[in-house]
């Protein structure tokens, strides 16, 4: 194993929450599937069954995605701070590992590894949950939730979600890591306060909201840039077939050509790269607090 692989293992030793939170969360969802109230109207057409299977997996995945967002944010904000606070940075820096590698591995964990773990947990939870629900509501569901083609489509959706999320939120991640590498205390406060102050100053002195809008757009904009409109959403009643009567697949839902050619995507990513380079420079200069 090389140095990067060891650094990834080290993150799992340190942050057992990476897999414990999704495991516990998945367990709770399975308990809900076991003992919760189930009332599902009878599904008749193949299209309805398709919709139910897809919606079920997407809902489970979305719940994991929300929890993941919170945890990954916390992870990125903490990852370059906690070893400075407990002074163990002096141990890590006594080893021949460059600061750039350390920072990039932590970015990889926060933006790729953690989402992958969560989506894997979502898959396992959805499979077990589908099994339980298929038995408990066998009269109305039948084998509706067991659709291998839907399952594979959902896997494509997850991979796309991971890549799109990582690229879109790179500036946010870069900012969190910069704060994490810089702050001497209260990382959460330092992450929120400067953008908030800039926003207020801009409003007071210029009467404009460019910063506020840019931040809001970055936080909320991913569904608009990376996915096609609500008309194709499986979870909405009309989404089973699109206007042409064609069954909606994952290919209709995702919008990679739009996302990867959008200037917004790449401007944000460039800002993210600059912030991450800044975090590396800070990591080289700052040691224990």
């Amino acid at each position: 194993m090389n140095t990067s692989t060891w650094l990834i293992r080290r993150e799992f030793w340190e942050n057992r929450a990476i897999w414990m939170i999704p495991a516990v969360f998945g367990g709770l969802l399975i308990l809900a599937a076991l003992f919760g109230q189930v009332s599902i109207p009878k599904l008749t057409s193949p299209a309805e069954m398709h919709e139910a299977a897809a919606a079920f997996q997407v809902i489970v995945g979305a719940m994991f995605y929300v929890v993941m967002s919170v945890y990954a944010t916390w992870y990125l904000l903490d990852c370059l701070y906690t070893d400075r606070r407990d002074r163990s940075i002096l141990f890590w820096k006594s080893l021949p590992i460059s600061d750039a590698r350390t920072v990039l591995i932590k970015l990889l964990i926060g933006m790729i590894v953690i989402p992958l773990v969560y989506f894997a947990a979502a898959d396992v939870t959805a499979l077990i949950g589908a099994f339980i629900l298929s038995i408990r509501a066998r009269a109305s569901l039948g084998s509706a939730l067991w659709q291998p083609d839907v399952w594979w489509q959902i896997q494509v959706l997850w991979v796309y979600c991971v890549i799109a999320t990582a690229l879109w939120y790179l500036p946010i991640a870069g900012w969190l890591m910069l704060v994490s590498a810089w702050a001497k205390r209260a990382v959460m406060l330092w992450a929120i306060l400067p953008p908030l102050v800039l926003y207020i100053l801009e409003r007071v002195f210029f009467g404009t909201q460019i910063i506020g809008h840019a931040i809001t757009r970055r936080m909320m904009g991913l569904p608009y840039v990376a996915f096609n409109g609500a008309k194709h959403m499986w979870t909405q009643g009309s989404g089973v077939v699109d206007n042409g009567g064609v069954p909606v697949t994952v290919w209709h839902l995702i919008n990679p050509s739009g996302f990867f050619t959008s200037a917004e995507t790449w401007i944000g990513a460039a800002v993210g790269v600059v912030l991450i380079l800044g975090a590396i420079q800070l990591r080289m200069r700052r040691s224990e607090i």
Partner: protein, 285 residues
């Protein structure tokens, strides 16, 4: 041969505060060097610069490299213990060994395991479950298993009891030190290390005030305990420091003629701690 550590006009500023002020120092290979100074003298800043943990002004090479730019490569040949309390609390002993073995090309696992076998520490324990003395032993096992040319210790025994301190230094001298290695050590406890040092560097207010081998100390410095009646005559020889003890006055001389001084009383070589106090209180020298 070029010195292992060479600093010329090494300067480090924190805002308006000058932690290192054009410091010059040389450390040769195979020596055990004590970097000694009062609190806030710049010891830690000097070590930070040497270990590549901070940027600086001036010229500095360690093992032929610029530490700040080349820290990763430098850490292949150099290791440090900056206070023993820094092993992360969540790390397991066996994982620590696996990790260092994985990332450090000069780490010898068998040596680390042999060192740990002499202790009561089980591999599946986490650092937070270990006493401070046990953590020291783990850190020592990790560090001493690395074939490093330079070992830097910053206040390594801070917070340890006297037994653990003694064990630490015994292990350092008996199990680790040989002619291929160099040790640079800072500590407040001068008495504790003075028997193992070969060289001393005194630092005060960011400047190096003395950089010498202990062999030279014996020829360069002499202390004389003088009774009151001979005091004026002895003072004429320009001691740089005086200390009053039990009715006698001890005068410290640098580069004086021992033949002359012998007339005033018994000569002895000052201990490192005496020298330290004398040098830093006397100032001019």
């Amino acid at each position: 041969m070029a010195p292992l550590i060479e600093a010329r006009d090494l300067t480090k500023k924190y805002g308006a505060h000058v932690a290192l002020d054009r410091a010059n120092l040389n450390v040769e290979a195979g020596r055990i060097v004590g970097l000694i100074g009062p609190n806030g003298a710049g010891k830690t800043s000097a070590l930070r610069a040497i270990l590549g943990l901070t940027n600086y002004e001036g010229h500095l090479t360690v093992l032929g490299r610029e530490p700040f730019r080349d820290r990763t490569a430098l850490m292949n040949e150099c290791c440090f213990i900056a206070d023993v309390a820094v092993l992360p609390s969540w790390l397991r002993v066996d994982h620590a060994i696996d990790f260092v073995a994985g990332v450090h090309p000069r780490f010898r696992r068998d040596r680390a395991l042999a060192f740990l076998a002499k202790t009561q520490i089980a591999g599946n324990r986490r650092m937070r479950e270990l006493s401070k003395g046990m953590k020291t032993q783990v850190h020592l096992a990790l560090t001493m298993a690395i074939d490093a040319k330079l070992l830097v210790l910053d206040e390594p025994t801070l917070g340890l009891d006297i037994l653990a301190r003694r064990a630490f230094y015994d292990a350092l001298v008996n199990d680790y030190m040989d002619e291929t290695r160099t040790i640079l050590i800072t500590t407040h406890q001068v008495e504790e290390v003075e028997n193992l040092l070969t060289d001393i560097i005194f630092i005060d207010k960011g400047r190096i005030v003395l950089d010498t081998s202990l062999d030279d100390v014996a020829t360069r410095f002499v202390a004389v305990a003088v009774t009151a009646d001979r005091l004026d005559a002895a003072r004429a020889e320009k001691p740089y420091y005086e200390r009053h003890i039990l009715g006698k006055v001890v005068l410290y001389f640098e580069n004086a003629d021992p033949g002359k001084l012998a007339a005033f009383g018994e000569l002895h070589t000052p201990s490192v701690s005496d020298l330290f106090v004398a040098k830093l209180s006397g100032g001019a020298a």
